[in-house]
């Protein structure tokens, strides 16, 4: 029982990190129509930006906003220089996906060219380990969960109550109609790239804090988990991504407690296939 509860706790921390990334990814996809597979590579870049600042003696928590800002700027530039021109030329969605895959490799190998093939860690403590009812979490992990909850609430508030959020939803639902209604969709799209880029920087940094030791290729598998969470919840659905992240995070850790751990992601994807076979549009998507 104790290993079950412990693994549920570990699943929560995995889900917390995954949720930030999945929400950013799905918002980006919904509003911009770009399934940006370079998202995880930008996360890695963000993690290293925070690392470089951290190595200068600055707390990683202080470095975190800088990582978000850099990733935000990189994402906007990525769209401006790469994706938007392809979209303007009428490239098909699959072409954009392949381009994004290429950008992921370029960014990842670019980072590797700078830092080498080594793994690094932030200079920081993990805080006190707290145990309650079988759950085992450090204070740093609790902070990460708190950050994730704040981000989820903020995204909800943004989409629900702000003019920008409504414009994003309208752009996602029907870009032409939104433009005809007076929404400056290109501006909304640029702001979306900036916001979701910042989320990728945040996700990358808390991901690196969480795993302790990271390198240029650390997010290779994580991007698959992001896709799983997004598609489990229903692509384009922010709330679906939150739920998808929670399910994937807990499923991977709990399954690791009872089966050979290197199959834990297989279990998560079997669960994903099971859900999608019943609801092809995902948990929050329209019924097929």
């Amino acid at each position: 029982m104790s290993i079950f509860l412990a693994s549920v706790g570990f699943g929560l921390i995995t889900a917390a990190v995954l949720a930030i990334a999945a929400v950013g990814f799905t918002l980006q996809f919904a509003v911009t129509d770009v399934l940006n597979l370079a998202f995880a590579a930008i996360m890695t870049l963000g993690a290293f930006v925070a690392y470089w600042i951290n190595q200068a003696g600055v707390s990683v928590w202080v470095a975190l906003p800088a990582a978000m800002a850099v990733c935000s700027a990189i994402s906007v530039l990525l769209n401006f220089l790469v994706y938007a021109p392809f979209q303007r030329r009428g490239s098909s969605p699959i072409t954009i996906v392949i381009v994004s895959l290429g950008m992921a490799l370029i960014i990842q190998f670019g980072v590797q060219a700078i830092v080498g093939g080594v793994n690094v860690s932030y200079t920081m403590g993990q805080g006190t380990t707290l145990r309650a009812g079988g759950l085992i979490l450090t204070t740093v992990q609790l902070v990460i969960i708190a950050i994730s909850v704040v981000v989820m609430v903020a995204v909800y508030a943004l989409l629900r109550y702000t003019k920008l959020g409504k414009s994003m939803r309208a752009t996602a639902a029907n870009r032409s109609l939104a433009r005809n209604c007076g929404i400056r969709t290109s501006r909304v799209i640029t702001i979306t790239w900036a916001l979701t880029g910042a989320l990728s920087g945040l996700a990358g940094t808390v991901f690196a804090i969480d795993i302790g030791s990271f390198g240029p290729t650390s997010t290779d598998l994580f991007v698959v988990l992001i896709l799983a969470a997004v598609f489990l919840g229903g692509p384009g659905h922010a709330y679906g991504a939150m739920l998808g992240a929670l399910l994937i995070g807990i499923a991977t850790e709990v399954s690791a407690a009872y089966i050979q751990p290197d199959y834990k992601y297989v279990i998560a994807f079997v669960a994903l296939l099971g859900v999608l076979s019943l609801r092809p549009s995902g948990l929050f998507g329209a019924r097929a």
Binding site: F10, V99, G236, P261
Partner: protein, 459 residues
């Protein structure tokens, strides 16, 4: 409630109409597309293989075929340090029969699927390729037959037992089979008085090959296996695996999970074990600057140094062979990409650096002894020079070997990895020592493992 219903092509089409007022956007898009395509091509090229230094006309090329990316990315640069250092020393001593020697590399990513095309590309673009080094357990099964059929001599770092009894004409190995390393790790646990052992090995080919021999040896040594976790090297955390290990209360953990896996596991075990590390017994692959740096960062240098042992092949730590070797490596300090991290002196005991240095020197001296760079002519001299013949003069460096050969003498090469003794399969397994790290990352020898001890736990 938040969903994109507009087809992307439709949206793009709409935008194309809106932007059709002038020709500039179209040109810009084409230009950007070309730039992106070129960048993509560059990026993809970077995934494959890349020359470390040129192999111009008249030069002889040694190729480092090993992982430069992926979880085992630290191996390739370690071997490249050895290659650059060795070839630099060879060139300073006049080269090989008037030829300069240079290094190139092929990134296998530690995956057979990536290794084969990388080697194919290497063979195609390197007509003057004379020697391959590296070929770790990650990719050896895939690339050794290919390199062998290309009739290129290779000194491999694989420990896979299939090479103990499969004959490849051009395959040479100066490291022991992995099962011997499993036995050596078990002997270390025995020596330290541990009774309960947990295993935590990566799910890559190179790491999994240790598991069954270790399970067998632990039983034979009278110890108890309390946990056996296989770590997905692409996973980002191992919290549940760490908690299972902590709950099993092992005295020590035997492990090889390279990349970020082991450091992450160590950190999570320390966290879940109330801030205390569980003693770690690693393989010789853990003796590298990159591994030390990542592990020390993850759990603290002093905690890691106090709780870590690894088996390693006996290598010289002083004497003429060691001096020549360290001078060769120091000459390229800071000049090899991706290898500038950590304590450089760790390379002096890194198995890949030491034994590949010896392999390259053996090959170069064999060419000189044969008076030819034709592989068919110089290959037989590897065993002759390595194992020696009656009356042979012992030499400890390439330069010394050249001098003696020019004087018309027969030589036996004994480098920092010690004397060789090749069997019918061109294997020359060495003997083991026990290594630890200081808190500063320097490697120190804390004991030796005898053949009798290995036999006592072997299955």
């Amino acid at each position: 409630m938040f969903r994109s219903t507009e087809p992307a092509a439709g949206a793009a089409g709409h935008l194309r109409c809106a932007g059709a007022g002038g020709a500039r956007p179209g040109r810009a898009a084409r230009t950007l597309a070309a730039v992106a395509a070129a960048a993509l091509a560059c990026g993809l090229a970077a995934c494959g293989s890349s020359p470390a230094s040129g192999g111009g006309n008249g030069s002889i090329v040694f190729a480092d075929v090993a992982p430069f990316s992926g979880p085992d990315a630290a191996l390739g640069p370690t071997y490249l340090v050895s290659c650059q250092g060795t070839t630099n020393a060879i060139n300073k001593a006049g080269g090989v029969l008037g030829h300069k020697v240079s290094c190139t590399s092929a990134d296998t990513k530690g995956d057979p699927a990536d290794a084969n095309p990388a080697v194919g590309s290497l063979l195609a673009r390197t007509p003057n390729l004379s020697l391959v080094i590296g070929c770790t357990s990650d990719e050896a099964a895939a690339v050794v037959p290919v390199i062998n059929s290309h009739k290129t001599v290779m000194f491999c770092m694989t420990g896979q037992s299939e090479f103990d009894h499969t004959h490849y004409d051009y395959f040479y190995r100066l490291v022991p089979p992995d099962l011997a390393e499993s036995y050596a790790m078990t002997v270390i646990a025995q020596n330290l008085g541990y009774k309960k052992i947990a295993l935590a090995f990566g799910n890559d080919i190179g790491s999994q090959t240790f598991v069954q021999p270790a399970v067998s040896a632990i039983g034979k040594a009278g110890m108890t296996l309390v946990a056996n976790e296989t770590l997905d090297l692409n996973a980002t955390t191992f919290r549940t695996e760490a908690e299972k290990i902590v709950q099993a209360h092992p005295d020590a953990i035997m492990t090889e999970a390279l990349g970020s896996a082991d450091p992450t596991l160590f950190a999570e075990i320390k966290q879940l074990n109330n801030g205390r590390m569980i003693p770690i017994i690693g393989t010789s692959a853990a003796i590298s600057p990159a591994f030390y740096q990542a592990a020390a960062k993850a759990v603290g240098a002093s905690a890691f140094a106090a709780n870590f042992h690894a088996d390693n092949l006996v290598t010289a730590t002083s004497g003429p062979a060691y001096n020549a070797f360290t001078q060769a490596l120091l000459a390229v300090k800071g000049k090899v990409a991706n290898a500038q991290t950590g304590n450089f002196t760790t390379y002096f005991t890194a198995p890949g650096a030491v034994h590949l240095y010896d392999g390259m020197n053996l090959a170069a001296l064999a060419m000189i002894a044969a008076g030819s760079t034709d592989t068919a002519k110089w290959k037989p001299f590897i065993a002759t020079i390595g194992d020696g013949v009656p009356g042979a003069v012992v030499v400890n460096s390439f330069a010394q070997g050249v001098r003696e050969l020019k004087a018309g003498k027969k030589i036996r090469y004994e480098g920092p990895g010690g004397p060789t003794s090749f069997d019918a399969f061109h294997d020359s397994p060495g003997i083991f020592q026990i290594d630890t790290y200081t808190a500063a990352g320097a490697v120190q020898v804390s004991g030796n493992i005898t053949s009798a001890q290995l036999r006592a736990v072997s299955g």
